[in-house]
Amino acid sequence: MLDTLKLPERHYLNNGHGLKSWLLTKDHKRIAILYLISISAFFFLGGLFAVGIRLELTTPQGDFFQPDTYNKMFTLHGVIMVFFFLIPSIPAVLGNFLIPPMIGAKDLAFPRINLLSWYIYVLGGLFALFAILVGGVDTGWTFYTPYSSAASNTNVIPTALGVFIAGFSSILTGLNFIVTIHRMRAPGMTWFKLPLFVWAHYATSLIQVLGTPVVAITIIMVFVERAFGFGIFDPQRGGDPVLFQHLFWFYSHPAVYIMILPAMGVISELISTFSRKKVFGYSFVAFSSLAIAVFGFIVWAHHMFVAGISVYAAMVFSFLSFSVAIPSAVKTFNWTATLYKGSLTFEAPMLYVYGFLGLFLVGGLTGLFLATLGVDVHVHDTYFVVAHFHYIMVGGAIMGYLGGLHFWWPKIVGRMYSEFLSRISAILVFVGFNLTFFPQFVLGYMGMPRRYHMYPDEFQVLNVMSSAGAAVLGLGYLLPVIYFLWSLKHGEVAGPNPWGASGLEWRTASPPPTENFAEVPTDIPEAYEYTPHVVREAKLV
């Protein structure tokens, strides 16, 4: 039956040819592809810096790179991975591609702004690349003052402007999603029929809209201090460097939920598809996304427990930090419960889901160590923190991103990739990941500070393990590039709904036509409805 499948004659990919048709497109799906290409490039660039970091850290002495070079590498690694890869990743690629079809719309509310936001992103990226080309920047991705505003003599300004500009891209994407979700839903698509992916993106967008402007203005303040000698954060000029940290983390803590919430949305979709079952406690999962988004705004100073804030403020923020753990716990348990009495299969996307569950759990639980004051004083700014956030950002968010990419790839290009290779890659990523980052928890508790170019000898064994793991991990990331590219030409034709999934986006051709649906569905079912009937229907055509 499968070999009778054919690609649709007319779809968004062949509706217009040539570079121009891509660069001027207003189709959210094509813009998603533009994002996919550009963020992948940045991912590998960021990965390249990670390779440099891990290489240097195989030996205690600083023998591969100059200290300044090392400092620039982790700074650029962090800046690129956070601002140019992970923050745009799922929203700008999968969200952009899928939200309109998921809610039965023809496009996002503002297609031109959508394209504009990609150009803004590219412009920001060019600033960052420019900063790299003229010598890099060495402040750490956190840009702490007064180092960034008065002491560093690297290219802080172009990098900061790059981040500032990319921030607007993020704001516009978020704004576009919120309006789209409010105003573009097809008739019958009520709030509680929305896929959880959409809920997660709604929550994410709120953070983007509310938080990003604060980091933007903070960057402006660093800029005027550095460029014109205005006094704002520099203690020599009467400023308080700790105020910078407050403003920075007011955005950057919520920003970590910009990174994880969309991944959580992906997981909800995948888990229900591959267990052919409703997500357990739909409304709890939906509202926990909003709760995470809102609570995310009241915990920021947990990055500053030893930064000279008052003892009482530290206690307040420690207390509040645990509030985000509860909705995260709710999600985790609901996903687990969804598996109960499901009909489970183990294609590559589902392997990523399992990977996500495990790694996010470790990442989230180690967040609790950090939120606990007594422990954080010791492990703050050590590799324990590095391990914590890689577990969530790489183990959680990227697992979610890759899972989503594998899941929707047939929808995006209309063809399947190699099932075998994709499973291998999922396993490589999981194993390599743990080998890379688990030793770092131990290193951190032993006291190895982060951002160290050289370190005492006794830390070497664990560091070598970590570097070895990174090699495996890198391989795991390279593999999908190969089989995804291969699938473009040679993959089996997937058909509209290869997984037998229930979302609206599977009810149109793969790849979808430019306007998403030949005929906009009007019989909107409950979310995740899997009855034997539905499944039989889905397999046809």
Binding site: R183, A186, P235, G238, D240, W300, I309, S310, T522, V541
Partner: protein, 120 residues
């Protein structure tokens, strides 16, 4: 699937909340608000010259807030707008308040000194 689905009824998008759009306010309302804003500006300047102690700050900010509220409600038509718009406006100020209030918990409790140690 992908077969044509039954289309029942006109294709209309949902609305979350009814929006009152295109409501034309009277000109005199605009003039009235303008006059109020001017008078408030005059008051705030005049009051600044009177020593009210700590109340000066409160009055200045209070008047500014009244003025801003007038602009938001009438010039920007929020008074007749959907609940969603109102929620958006409110949340802007709400999250700003979070930023300021929680940051100040740190500064206010850094000791009983009004100044940061060692500065000024």
């Amino acid at each position: 699937m992908a077969g044509p689905l039954p289309r029942n009824g006109p294709f209309r998008f949902q609305q979350d909340t009814p929006l009152v759009m295109g409501h034309v306010a009277s000109k005199s309302m605009y003039y009235g608000i303008f006059a109020a804003l001017m008078v408030l500006t005059w008051i705030t300047v005049a009051v600044a010259y009177v020593d009210l102690g700590a109340a000066n700050k409160a009055v200045a900010l209070g008047i500014a807030t009244i003025k801003a509220t007038l602009v938001v409600l009438f010039f920007m038509h929020v008074k007749e707008s959907s609940r969603l718009t109102k929620v958006i406006v409110a949340s802007g100020f709400f999250f700003l308040a979070i930023l300021v209030a929680l940051t100040m918990t740190d500064y206010a409790s850094r000791g009983f000194l009004p100044m940061p140690p060692g500065l000024q």
